[in-house]
């Protein structure tokens, strides 16, 4: 399993790249409600970047079940690779 700290560090880079800002506080609890501009299009960008970064492909059920960043972190920790 990939350590959670390493995943958070990677997500800090992913979020900075997608939202073009470097002040987003990464935690398992953040969701679209917490980040201005996190709409369905940004959600797609986050998923695509996650899959590319961690060499993992999300299933339809996993995509439908994403509610907060922690859901993505858990999938990456279980199946992802750095």
């Amino acid at each position: 399993m990939i350590p959670e700290d390493a995943i958070h560090d990677a997500f800090a880079e992913i979020f900075a790249d997608i939202f073009l800002r470097d002040d987003i506080q990464i935690s398992n609890e953040i969701s679209a409600r917490d980040v201005k501009g996190w709409d369905s299009f940004k959600q797609i960008e986050i998923i695509m970047a996650t899959e590319e970064r961690f060499a993992v492909k999300l299933t339809s059920a996993e995509l439908d079940g994403l509610r907060k960043l922690g859901d993505l972190v858990r999938i990456v920790a279980e199946r992802g690779r750095i």
């Binding site: 201005k36 299009f41 797609i44 695509m48």
Partner: protein
């Protein structure tokens, strides 16, 4: 990233004249930018400003406010965040700047519509690997399928019209080179006209300046990824002084509603006969479905349209061809008493109020101007219609008002929409105490398939015929004993 600041560089009207000039310069005449009728059937509902136009206007504001101070731009990231309707006035705000680069935002009110991150430095040498393929120069946007986009490659001819490019964006042409501005113009042509083409939704660019500029006058492109889950296309590009990638979605086309033949299998023969039903906004979407339900049950139907005369004619032709009765009337909610006079020439028994402005999410939460726009249609427009119809009706009038389940549980980005619909519900409650009205039915509809709900992901919706047939039957209960 550079340190934060917040400087308004310019306020720019993105009006029709500016749009037309940009179309002439870029050749990107995608209907989502230029055709109000076609754009109303896209998710934006109205013509929108080209993203690259916004980006170039922002760069022009930046470079003209700092003449002579510009360092070479090595990297450019452009993200198209929200659609900007043609006719908007947008602010160009520099949010960060230092010796390493700058960040610009195009803002409409509190919404960021386009974001640009420029990094200074030297350009890179080209890899020397050019993409093979034919030069694409369509006069009208191509209608590409998913299969068409996989493995697609080719080239876009740069305009090469230095005078026109310099004239439109002089400071940017000086700062980054006329050829690179021309290259950016070729990218909007690529996305809007070629790939994905007609049903495109441009998301962004990630570019690195090349050292040798636009040597061969051509922008080469190649599909490097098409993800069918999100209908996302990524093209690698090279040329016009840039190398990098372009992201765009392949939008779904306008939603096709069930045919009247399919609808008629759910409707009892003659169950609505004798009714004179008026459907405000019946040329497409849920209004079209209601028209087909009523007509297949024997009602004399009149559908109105605001812009889509061709859509209205299509619905009428389908209903009449099937054997139903359907008339068409132009009616714009904003046309005032004159427009209302047109639709009350014939007394009506019923009105179904299906007209709607474009429904969009507001990620900043509440916005008074958005609420006002919804109220203008869902309350003021609705009230004017039912009052005028009641004045001319020769019997008590039935009214159907489509509300939304969002009234009970509004998503954060649809609060204004839900509030306006709730206000419409209150007005309907007042109609129930007015003896001029018979059945006043408010239905809190779930999300149903329409141009307004057409997204990128495949979404399963309830059968609109089943949902709406039940509501139509309740609107008809007891009326002249026909239902």
């Amino acid at each position: 990233m550079p340190p934060t600041e917040n400087i308004l560089l310019a306020t720019i009207p993105f009006d029709e004249a500016a749009r037309d000039a940009f179309v002439a310069l870029s050749g990107d005449c995608n209907p989502v930018h230029v055709d109000p009728v076609a754009a109303r059937r896209s998710p934006t509902g109205t013509p929108i400003v080209h993203g690259v136009h916004q980006a170039l206007a922002a760069l022009e504001a930046q470079f003209s406010s700092n003449p002579g101070a510009a360092a070479p731009v090595a990297k450019l990231r452009i993200s198209f965040e929200k659609p900007l309707p043609v006719g908007s006035i947008a602010g160009i705000v520099r949010t960060r700047a230092d010796d390493s680069g700058f960040v610009l935002e195009v803002r409409s009110g509190v919404e960021i519509t386009t974001k640009i991150v420029a990094t200074f430095g030297a350009g890179v040498a080209l890899s020397g690997v050019k993409t093979a393929g034919a030069v694409h120069s369509p006069q009208a946007p191509l209608e590409q399928s998913e299969a068409d986009l996989v493995g697609l490659s080719g080239g876009i001819q740069l305009s090469g019209d230095r005078e026109a490019v310099n004239g439109a964006f002089p400071a940017t042409s000086t700062a980054i080179g006329t050829a690179r501005v021309d290259g950016l113009l070729a990218m909007t042509f690529l996305v809007g006209m070629v790939a994905p083409g007609r049903n495109s939704l441009f998301r962004g660019l990630s570019l690195t300046a090349t050292a040798d500029g636009a040597a061969d006058g051509r922008l080469a492109f190649r599909t490097v990824l098409y993800d069918p889950r999100f209908r996302l296309l990524r093209l690698s590009i090279e040329g016009g002084g840039w190398t990098g990638s372009v992201d765009a979605h392949l939008r779904r086309g306008p939603v096709v509603q069930p045919s009247i033949d399919a609808v008629s299998h759910h409707v009892k023969r003659g169950e609505f006969s004798g009714l004179r039903s008026l459907i405000i906004g019946g040329s497409r979407g849920l209004g079209e479905v209601i028209a087909k339900i009523l007509a297949s049950g024997g009602a004399d139907v009149t559908i109105t349209y605001a812009k889509g005369s061709a859509d209205a004619a299509r619905v009428r032709s389908e209903i009449v061809g099937w054997g139903g009765n359907c008339e068409v009337a132009p009616f714009d909610l904003h046309s005032g008493a004159e427009g209302l006079d047109l639709i009350v020439r014939t007394p009506r028994d019923q009105v179904y109020f299906m007209a709607t402005p474009p429904i969009g999410s507001v990620d900043s939460g509440r916005r008074p101007d958005v609420l006002a726009r919804y109220l203008e249609s869902y309350v003021e427009g609705f009230a004017a219609v039912v009052e005028r119809l009641a004045q001319t009706a020769d019997r008590r009038l039935d009214v159907f008002y489509p509300s939304t389940i969002y009234v009970e549980a509004p998503p954060r980005d649809f609060i204004d929409y839900a509030m306006a619909k709730a206000a419409g519900e209150v007005f309907c409650a007042s109609l129930r105490t007015d003896p001029r009205f018979a059945n006043v039915v408010v239905e809190r509809l779930p999300r149903l398939a329409s141009d307004q709900t057409a997204g990128l992901a495949s979404e399963r919706f309830p059968d609109p015929v089943q949902v709406l047939l039940d509501a139509v039957r309740r609107t008809c209960i007891g009326h002249r004993g026909t239902c």
